[in-house]
Amino acid sequence: MRVLEQLNQSLHAVMAERSDVLFIGEDVLDPYGGAFKVSKGLSTAFPDQVITTPISEASIVGLGTGLALQGYRPVVEIMFGDFITLIADQLVNQAAKMTWMYNRDLAVPIVVRTPMGGRRGYGPTHSQTLEKHFLGVPGLTVLAASQALDAGALLRIAIEEIDTPVLFVENKLLYARQAIEPGELDMRKSDAQVPTLTIGGGRPDFSIITYGDNLSLVLEAVAYLHEEEELNGEILMVHQVSPIDFEPLRVSVMTTRRVVVVEEGIEAHGWGAEVIAGLSDISLEAPPERVGARSLPIPAARGLEEQVLPQKQDVIDAVIRTVDRYHV
């Protein structure tokens, strides 16, 4: 099954079970079913639970927050992740603060879902990976779907189990990818509410820490390194991007003492910085490496976009640096 269907079917299932789950967003009605079709069929099956909205990103998140305060569990779609800049105030200064600031046993279970990422030539305002600007916000949980963990199940956790606001990141390319079947890869699941996966068997030589759709290029890089360089990689697939559960990461890195963090967002001040800082008490064989986008807007032309976004070769090079390079 593709990740798109996992998400869509999970929404169908949870909305059938619970009338308190509302789906809110722009252009989400059938037959259109949302810009990326995640909401396909929902408005037909659950006409009272789906609300198509004006193009008012800030206010539809506020709407969702108000509904959450009324006991609903709203799922708000922001059509492109690039537009989460418009909802920053609603998430940071409103939804995320309420429980603690009001000193109340107050759930604000709103899920804001949004497709992120490039590699489709959508250009500078429709290709970014902006969740890095929403990390480390007290009271806000940031999750990212992947091929490796049932994305529908992850979404269900966000909707049903997490009582803080959740920013739920879906990579655009992920929608069309096949979900990885259980058993297809050697992997262990941490037992946190939102699991981290440790992928790869044998005695690993290096750890790659990543999330989201980066897995696809990381898997290719790891395969290459295995075949060509006889290096064994262990991949840490994080699904809760913030706050980070460092435990499984530490376990791996304490074994390998070589670590590469891979993200699609701009490397500077990115997610990888926090990962590296959080592991910085571990003595490593080589400096930790980060792979991310260059500090430039994302250009539209394919040949240009490739030069800005991280590629498989960048991951390979970074891993090799952890084998060849030393601390100064």
């Binding site: 800030a58 206010s59 709407l63 108000g66 509904l67 959450a68 305060l69 409103q94 309420m98 009001y102």
Partner: protein, 301 residues
């Protein structure tokens, strides 16, 4: 507590007086250095709070207020000691001292200090009530200054599209902080909601009894028709924007003070009734402050 023989005029006066004296006390505590941060008092605007918010039904109606929220909170029925404690940072604060003057939640009442931020949230609360088939309404209060925030118009559009049972209470006190109306607000205030197809009405009085009748119509319109309503009250604040930062013309302030809602209402009461009200307020306020003293500084995170 209100005595059985109290009439409506007395009750309205007493409720306004409680707000007035509370705000005065808060300013006094600030001046004495007993409170940090900032605060926004509604001295001069008490009639709006009492007339409109005071008529809501705490069992079913919701209020989303802004930075100038004390009067709304008290009119809604929020406990006085909880408010004072919140501002003083004592452990009995209604939010444990976390929120402070601008960020208060009590029952179906909440406020936040970011202008415009609460408006779409209020729409969500109204929509929730609608979906549940309840007959509660949501009141969201904004000042003339908040007319500058885009979320307001996004919310007006949503409220109209979906027939949300929400009342926009617009308190035009002619200033946003130091900025007079004409430098911040172009055109008409009352008309701002009309292009969305939202009924709008305005009133220019500080007479709480007039405001009461007008507000009751506005509330009932929303409650019965389950549609948004834009209710503009032209008013004035006598106190500074926050603490001592007043740059308005003194003559202007004095002229408006002629229309002090308490003065207007006091004309309907006799001397004994006025004394009774003062005594009651003094007592209630005294007990609330004592409760704060007893609670001690908020130290629990």
């Amino acid at each position: 507590m209100p005595v059985a023989t109290e009439n409506l005029s007395q009750i309205l006066y007493r409720d306004m007086l409680l707000i007035r004296r509370t705000e005065e006390k808060i300013l006094e505590l600030f001046s004495a250095g007993k409170v940090g941060g900032t605060t926004h008092t509604c001295i001069g605007q008490e009639a709006n709070a009492v007339a409109l918010v005071g008529q809501l039904d705490r069992q079913r109606d919701f209020v989303v207020s802004n930075h100038r929220c004390h009067g709304h909170y008290l009119a809604y029925g929020g406990p006085l000691d909880g408010l004072l404690g919140e501002i003083l940072g004592t452990a009995n604060g209604v939010c444990g001292g976390r929120g402070g003057s601008q960020h208060i939640k009590y029952d179906r009442f909440q406020s936040n200090g970011v202008l415009g931020g609460g408006i779409p949230i209020a729409c969500g609360m109204a929509m929730g009530e609608k979906l549940k088939g309840g007959d509660g309404i949501t009141v969201v209060s904004i000042g003339d200054g908040a007319l500058g925030e885009g979320t307001l118009y996004e919310s007006l559009n949503m409220a109209a599209l979906w027939d949300l049972p929400i009342l926009f209470l617009v308190e035009n006190n002619r200033y946003a902080q130091s900025t007079p109306l004409h430098l911040g607000v172009a055109g008409s205030i009352v008309d701002r909601a009309r292009p969305f197809g939202i009924r709008a009405d305005e009133i220019d009085t500080t007479d709480v009894e007039e405001l009461l009748v007008w507000s009751s119509r506005a509330i009932e319109a929303v409650r019965l028709e389950r549609k948004p309503h834009w209710a503009v009250m032209h008013t004035y604040r006598f106190s500074a924007h926050s603490k001592g930062d007043d740059t308005r013309d003194e003559d202007e302030v004095r002229a408006y003070q002629e229309k002090d809602p308490l003065r207007i209402q006091s004309a309907r009461l006799n001397a004994e009734q006025l004394d009774e009200a003062e005594a009651w307020v003094r007592d209630v306020l005294g007990r609330a402050l004592a409760a704060c003293d007893a609670a001690g500084e908020a130290m629990k995170l």
